[in-house]
Amino acid sequence: MQAILLAIATFIFAIDQFSLTEILYRPIIACPIIGLILGDPQTGLVVGGTYELMMVGNMPVGGAQPPNAVLGGVVGVVLAVNVGLPTEQALGAAVIFSLFGQYAVTLTFTFMSTMMARADKAAAEANPSGITMVNNISMCILGALFAAMAVAAYFGGEALGETLTQFSEDFSWLMAGLGAAGGMMRNVGFAVLLKIMLSNDLWGIFLAGFAAAAVLGNVDATSGAALILIAFIGIAIAINDFTLNLKIKENAGNGGVSDGI
């Protein structure tokens, strides 16, 4: 019974880390709930508060993946309550599980990249439920992978951690390969945008945007706000072009040539 509730809760937290409220999965909330399921909410609160403070410097910023907060917290509580490890030690032993949480995220994000073709098909057919389906598949995969690992930790405890450590050492190159490929895949997204947006006369603008980001993104003082500053520059260029073309049109109109707009 405990294992089933644990699986359900982890399933929800796994989805929540990217969707739903995006707050419930935070250790300070998730850990006490897991503690309650395992019959020791006090330990859950302590582990949650401690882990939340540890995680504050470890945010999902700009699409980067930090070691996974959900499995780190859930397994931390499982080990603290079931095995009786002290808080710090339980969280330390949970790190390997949180690494596998990150693997699960990498696998899901890679797999869903290939599923976008299915979403394209639904869009071409103007079929909204096809889009819903793609989103639901993604959430179920992520939730199921996480729930499975939480249950494995529940039954396997610390010993499982050692097996996982060995496994992750042997296959680290494979996960690294997926990570490296994942890092490059966004470039496919950009290429698709450019396919449509990039007319021949805009190549210079594209490279200018790249250059602006290369400068502003690598200066400490501006790197945080780089994209806002870049939008300012881009707006200046766009408005200049807009007013210029408007003047040309007006002058052409005065000359008796009207394009009928």
């Binding site: 909330i29 599923m115 394209d120 470039n187 945008l193």
Partner: protein
């Protein structure tokens, strides 16, 4: 397959979206990252969130499909501020603006919000709230987690709700001026969009080489022997920062545009490159720490 339509068939502006639909989309916006993926990031979640609006706006099936297709392109912004982009894009869709204009405005609006959202939320609100509530939890009080949820979720939903209405009315009022000069506006918007995509190519760059080629040893001032390495990524950065990201983008652009490759085919190619590259210890950065299955001199 993205269709190449640039205008909608039915150009009569649709009726303004009612409050019920807008509210429904505010709640749907929570699922922005439901099918987050490496290629298009939040695209499918974004489309799902604005679908109720699109279905009201585009009663004609062809237009709905055109709109769904272009709204499935790469999308990434801050999840709590996304309704700002939604409001503007929906106001443009409602006025049946040129598809290129909508695409460009969407791209230009999504980028900057990421930085603002991270600064506001992850660097300010969450650390402050955690500072207040974590010690309550460690002392064994349920008030800690409950307060944490109320503060963070409250701010999040207030932002989602407020931004949606604000940007929708902003877009609707601005658009009358712009439709008069639609052609010029489309061109200007495209310039801004392309400029931002160029910036994203550099700013979102997430590929780097991890090769450190041994290059003999020297003896330092303290008399110790120090191994020297050639950092290949460092050399590359000296030529052009984010050069690899630019190169891969242009490679995919060429494959898709000139060779008619599908995006999926490009992804599979990158998967092979990524995994084979890590077998030979070529990649670093997003690949993380790893041991290569075969031993190579440039990977420790």
């Amino acid at each position: 397959m993205a269709s190449n339509a640039t205008t909608y068939k039915d150009l009569t502006p649709a009726a303004p979206l009612d409050k019920k639909t807008l509210n429904r989309m505010v709640w749907r916006s929570c699922q922005l990252q439901a099918s987050f993926n490496y290629e298009r990031m939040q695209a499918a979640g974004w489309l799902w969130a604005i679908l109720p609006g699109l279905q009201k706006i585009h009663t004609n099936k062809e237009d709905l499909s055109a709109s769904m297709e272009h709204n499935l392109e790469f999308f990434n912004t801050h999840p709590f501020l996304v309704t700002f982009v939604m409001g503007i894009v929906l106001s443009l869709e409602q006025q049946k603006a040129d598809i290129n204009t909508i695409r460009s405005v969407r791209v230009a609006a999504m980028g900057p919000l990421g930085g603002i959202g991270d600064a506001l939320f992850w660097f300010a609100l969450v650390p402050i709230t955690a500072g207040i509530t974590c010690n309550m939890a460690i002392d064994g009080s349920w008030i800690g987690p409950i307060l944490y949820f109320i503060i963070c979720f409250g701010v999040e939903m207030a932002l989602r709700y407020g931004l949606m209405y604000w940007s929708y009315s902003l877009g609707t009022s601005a658009i009358a001026v712009l439709t008069k000069n639609a052609k010029e506006f489309t061109r200007a918007a495209s310039m801004l969009g392309v400029f931002v995509v160029g910036a994203l190519t550099c700013n979102y760059a997430n590929v780097s080489l991890g090769m450190m080629i041994p290059n003999g040893t020297t003896i330092n001032d303290a008399g110790e022997t120090v191994a020297n390495y050639i950092d290949v990524q460092g050399l590359l950065d000296g030529v052009l920062p984010a050069a690899l990201s630019l190169a891969i983008t242009l490679l995919c652009y060429w494959l898709i545009k000139k060779k008619n490759w599908s995006a999926t085919k490009c992804i599979l190619l990158l998967l092979v490159i990524g995994i084979v590259g890590c077998v030979f210890g070529i990649f670093g950065g997003a690949a993380g720490d790893y041991t290569t299955p075969i031993s190579v001199p440039w990977h420790a």
